[in-house]
Symmetry: C2
Subunit: 119 residues, 2 copies
């Protein structure tokens, strides 16, 4: 195989994939992971803590996502047993599943490119 100059230096192949709305970004790996944490932990604040993210940033992201679709992805509740909480709506779970699949294919693409680089 041809000698690739880029293969001779220790650079890491990296990339990002996202869905862009008219104004804001709608979905990306950060927002996806946030949704996945919310689904597991049941609250925005716990998800933020788990990701070492400020609550404000997490709330802003959730607000941005919910504002860009008809049916919100995250449904919240203030007050109550655990002080409140949040979870994914069916629409939210569907978006997570679909974008996770896209992102996994992207990861495969990156791996293939890396393999091509060092072959």
């Amino acid at each position: 195989m041809k000698e690739l100059l880029l293969a001779s230096v220790p650079f890491r192949f990296d990339g990002r994939l996202w869905l862009q709305g008219p104004d804001d970004r709608f979905m990306g790996i950060g927002r996806l992971q946030l949704l996945e944490h919310i689904a597991v932990l049941g609250s925005i604040s716990q998800a933020a803590r788990a990701m070492n993210m400020s609550y404000k940033r997490a709330w802003d992201l959730v607000s941005s996502m919910n504002a860009q679709v008809r049916t919100p992805l995250v449904q919240t509740q203030t007050g109550g047993r655990r002080g409140g909480g949040a979870g994914l709506t069916p629409a939210g779970e569907q978006v997570v599943a679909e974008f996770r699949a896209m992102h996994d294919r992207f990861a495969a693409f990156l791996a293939a490119e890396t393999a091509r680089l060092y072959s």
Copy 2:
């Protein structure tokens, strides 16, 4: 085919691809286009103007790229017939060709994902 929720909203698939060094970014679409402009126009300042980029930013990018490899990608000359100039070294041309090919494959991946989304 299965109904995709994401297909029902006007979101644009987008993404970025780059090569990351230990500290700085090494190559991305912006740096690639800058190198391509330098190759055609023969100077950093003209390339910057053509891309509506400040000369400082263009020079910083060139400096960053050159600093991360043994043989520089851009060779420059101060003073002279046209006041000076810049051009790609053989290493620079090789990097441009290789990363351009990678980026074209990435564009094809994005197109395929978009097609899958709206099929």
